[in-house]
C-alpha cells in the first residue's frame, strides 16, 4: 500500500523512476540487441522510419541503423551523466564541507573560487576546455565537472553552516570527537539526502551539456552520442526530420526523467510536503 501512496502522492518521482528504468534497460540491452558496432554501415542510406522492418527507425546518411545508435547513445549519456554528476558531487561536497565547517579564510577562498567559475559562462568554458584538450569522454567529463562543482559546494556549504550551529555538532569537540570524525559521522549523513537529490539534476545538466558539445561536433568520436546524431541529421532536416527528432526525443525523455526524479526526491525528503 505504501507503493500506491507514492504513486498518487508523488507522480514526479514515479514518472521519473519509470523513465529512468526504461533508459537503463535500453542501455543494458544495447550490446545484446545490436551486437555489432552501431557505427557500422549496415543498410542503404537514408531509409525512412518503417520502410524496412529490420531497421524500424530507419538509417542515416551513411547507412547506420538509427535504432542501434539510439540504444548505444543511452549508454553514452548514462555513463557521462553518472561520471560528471559523481565527480562534481564528490569535489563540491568535500570543498563545501571543509569551507562550511572551517569558515574563516578557507571559506572566503572557496567562495571567491565559486564566484570565479560562476562568472565564466559554463557552456563557453566547457567548449574551450574540450576544444583545447581534445574531444574524449574523459575531457568532456572534466569540462562539465569543472563547471558544475561550484553549485554543489555552495549547497553543501550552506547546509554545513546551518548544521554546525546545532547542539549535536557543537557538543562533539567537548566529547573529544576529532574534526574529521565530526565531518564524517555528523555532517556527511545529514547533507547526503540533499546532495543525492541534487546529483540527479546535475546528471540532467551534464547530459544536456554533452549533447550540446557533440551537436557542435565536439563529442567523443569513439562513442555514439544523441547530440552527435542530431547534429549529423540536421543537414537532412528538410527531407528526413526523423533523423533529428528521434535522438532529440531520447535526450528530452532522459533529461525529463532525471529532472522529475530530482523533483520527486526533493518532495519526498521535504518534511513540510510529506504529510
Amino acid at each position: 500500500m505504501i507503493s500506491r501512496r507514492i504513486v498518487t502522492r508523488n507522480p514526479a518521482l514515479t514518472l521519473g523512476c519509470l523513465l529512468l528504468a526504461a533508459l537503463v534497460s535500453v542501455a543494458l540491452a544495447a550490446p545484446w540487441l545490436y551486437p555489432d558496432d552501431p557505427r557500422d554501415m549496415v543498410a542503404p542510406a537514408l531509409l525512412v522510419v518503417g520502410a524496412d522492418l529490420n531497421f524500424p527507425l530507419g538509417t542515416d546518411a551513411l547507412g547506420r541503423d538509427v535504432a542501434a545508435g539510439i540504444a548505444y547513445g543511452a549508454r553514452t549519456s548514462l555513463l557521462l551523466g553518472a561520471l560528471a554528476a559523481g565527480c562534481a558531487t564528490a569535489i563540491g561536497m568535500l570543498l563545501g564541507l571543509v569551507a562550511g565547517y572551517a569558515r574563516g579564510w578557507v571559506d572566503g577562498l572557496l567562495m571567491r573560487l565559486c564566484e570565479l567559475f560562476q562568472t565564466i559562462p559554463h557552456f563557453l568554458l566547457a567548449l574551450f576546455v574540450v576544444a583545447i584538450l581534445g574531444a574524449t569522454l574523459r575531457n568532456i567529463v572534466l569540462a562539465i565537472t569543472l563547471t558544475s562543482w561550484p553549485s554543489v559546494a555552495r549547497l553543501v556549504r550552506s547546509q554545513t553552516l546551518m548544521l554546525r550551529e546545532l547542539d549535536f555538532v557543537r557538543i562533539a569537540p567537548a566529547m573529544n570527537v576529532g574534526r574529521l570524525r565530526v565531518i564524517l559521522t555528523h555532517l556527511v549523513p545529514n547533507v547526503l539526502p540533499t546532495v543525492v537529490t541534487n546529483a540527479s539534476i546535475l546528471a540532467a545538466v551534464a547530459i544536456l551539456g554533452e549533447s550540446g558539445l557533440s551537436f557542435l561536433g565536439l563529442g567523443d568520436p569513439r562513442l555514439v552520442s544523441w547530440g552527435g546524431m542530431l547534429g549529423e541529421g540536421r543537414d537532412m532536416i528538410r527531407t528526413i526530420p526523423s533523423l533529428t527528432l528521434l535522438p532529440g526525443a531520447a535526450i528530452v525523455l532522459t533529461v525529463l526523467g532525471l529532472n522529475l526524479l530530482g523533483d520527486g526526491l526533493n518532495q519526498a525528503l521535504d518534511p513540510r510536503r510529506r504529510s
Binding site: 564566484e115 559562462p121 563557453l124 576544444a131 584538450l133 540532467a204 550540446g212 565536439l218
Partner: protein, 360 residues
C-alpha cells in the same frame, strides 16, 4: 545583499512624515543628487571588485592556451608550410615564447589590461575588432530573448498561482517541465521544421534576407522576422524557469500578513494578486536573471549556430573549428565581462525595486 531588516533602523512614523515633508520642500533636482552619488560609488566599488575576478579569468585562459598542443610559433610555421628548427627558435624568441612561464603570464595579463586580446590568425584581424563586429547581434538576441522570457514566465507563473493545483496550473507546469528538458538546439530545429519548412512563414537563419532590403523599414522588418525564431528558442527555456520561480514566489507572498489585510479590506482578488503579490514576487525573478546571465550567453552559442546568427556564439564555434584558440579565449573573457556587467545591473535594479535594500 539581502540584509535582514533592522527594525531599529527604520524611522518612526512621525520622523518619516517629517522626512517626506522635507523632501517635498526641496526641489526634485537637488534631492536626487545623493542618490546619484550613491549609485556612482556603488558602480566604482563593484567595478573594482570585478578586476581580481577578471585577472583570474585571464589566468585560466592563459593556462588553457598553454595546454593546447603546439605553441604559437609552430602554428605560424605550420600555416606557412614548414620551416627549419633554427627559424622556429628565432620565431619563439621574437614572440617571447622562450621566456619562463610566469613572465609570459605577466605579459599576457598586461596585454589584457591594455585591452589587447591578441590577433586572430584565422580571420586576419584583431580579436577585439572581431568581437566588436559580433557583439551587437548577440546583445540583440539575448536581450530580446530575456525580455520575452520574463514576460512569458511571469505571466505564466501569475496565471498558474491564481488557482494552484487547478487545470491551468497543471497544464502550464507540464509544458514548463518539458521545455526545461528540451535542448535549445532541438527546440530551434523543431521551430525551423514547423515555421520555415512546413508553413514557410519565417526565415530559417541569418540576420537579413539574401537580397538586402533598400528601405529602413524593410531592413527592420527583415531583421525582426529573422530575430523572432532564435529569440523564441532561447527565451522558452528561461521562461520555463521564470514561470516556476514566479509561481513559487507568488504562493509564498500570498500568505503574508499585508496580503491578508488587503484581502480582508475587501479589495478585489485579482487586484490583490497584481498589486500586492506580483510586485513582491518579481524580486526572486530578478535574482535568477543575474544568476543565469552566463547560462543565457552559453545558450546563445547553440542557438546562434542553429540559426546562423552572426553573433559571439557563432564566432566561438568558428574559432573552435579553425583551432583559433586566441580568438576563443577572447570570447570567453568577453563572456565573463558581460556576466559581471549584468550582475551589477541586476543589483542596481534590485535596490530600485526594493528600497529596503541599500546599495552597500
Amino acid at each position: 545583499m539581502n540584509a535582514p531588516l533592522d527594525a531599529t533602523a527604520l524611522p518612526t512614523a512621525s520622523v518619516r512624515t517629517e522626512l517626506a515633508l522635507a523632501t517635498l520642500e526641496e526641489s526634485a533636482a537637488s534631492s536626487d543628487r545623493p542618490m546619484r552619488r550613491r549609485v556612482m560609488w556603488f558602480l566604482v566599488r563593484r567595478i573594482t571588485q570585478a578586476i581580481p575576478i577578471l585577472i583570474m579569468v585571464g589566468v585560466i585562459n592563459f593556462t588553457l592556451l598553454n595546454l593546447a598542443p603546439g605553441d604559437f610559433a609552430q602554428v605560424l610555421v605550420g600555416n606557412a608550410g614548414g620551416a627549419s628548427a633554427d627559424y622556429l627558435d628565432q620565431l619563439r624568441q621574437s614572440f617571447g615564447l622562450d621566456q619562463p612561464l610566469w613572465i609570459r603570464l605577466v605579459n599576457y595579463l598586461a596585454r589584457l589590461a591594455r585591452f589587447d586580446l591578441g590577433y586572430s590568425y584565422s580571420a586576419h584581424a584583431s580579436v577585439l575588432a572581431l568581437i566588436g563586429q559580433r557583439v551587437t547581434a548577440t546583445l540583440l538576441l539575448t536581450g530580446s530573448a530575456l525580455a520575452m522570457a520574463v514576460v512569458l514566465g511571469v505571466c505564466g507563473g501569475f496565471l498558474s498561482s491564481l488557482r494552484p493545483g487547478g487545470g491551468l496550473d497543471r497544464l502550464l507546469s507540464a509544458v514548463a517541465v518539458i521545455i526545461y528538458a528540451t535542448p535549445s538546439f532541438l527546440l530551434g530545429l523543431a521551430l525551423i521544421i514547423l515555421f520555415s519548412v512546413k508553413l514557410r512563414w519565417l526565415p530559417a537563419g541569418g540576420l537579413f534576407d539574401a537580397i538586402p532590403p533598400t528601405t529602413w523599414s524593410g531592413a527592420l522588418a527583415s531583421l525582426l522576422a529573422h530575430l523572432l525564431l532564435p529569440a523564441v528558442t532561447l527565451a522558452l527555456f528561461f521562461a520555463s524557469i521564470y514561470l516556476r520561480v514566479t509561481r513559487t514566489a507568488m504562493l509564498e507572498v500570498r500568505g503574508l500578513d499585508y496580503v491578508r489585510t488587503a484581502r480582508a479590506a475587501g479589495l478585489p482578488p485579482l487586484r490583490v494578486a497584481r498589486r500586492y503579490v506580483l510586485r513582491n514576487a518579481l524580486l526572486p525573478v530578478v535574482t535568477i536573471i543575474g544568476l543565469q546571465a552566463g547560462t543565457l550567453l552559453g545558450g546563445a552559442i547553440l542557438v546562434e549556430v542553429v540559426f546562423a546568427w552572426p553573433g559571439l556564439g557563432r564566432l566561438a564555434f568558428e574559432a573552435v573549428f579553425q583551432r583559433d584558440y586566441n580568438l576563443l579565449s577572447g570570447v570567453v573573457l568577453c563572456g565573463a565581462v558581460a556576466v559581471l556587467a549584468v550582475n551589477i545591473l541586476v543589483d542596481l535594479l534590485y535596490s530600485w525595486l526594493d528600497p529596503r535594500i541599500d546599495l552597500q
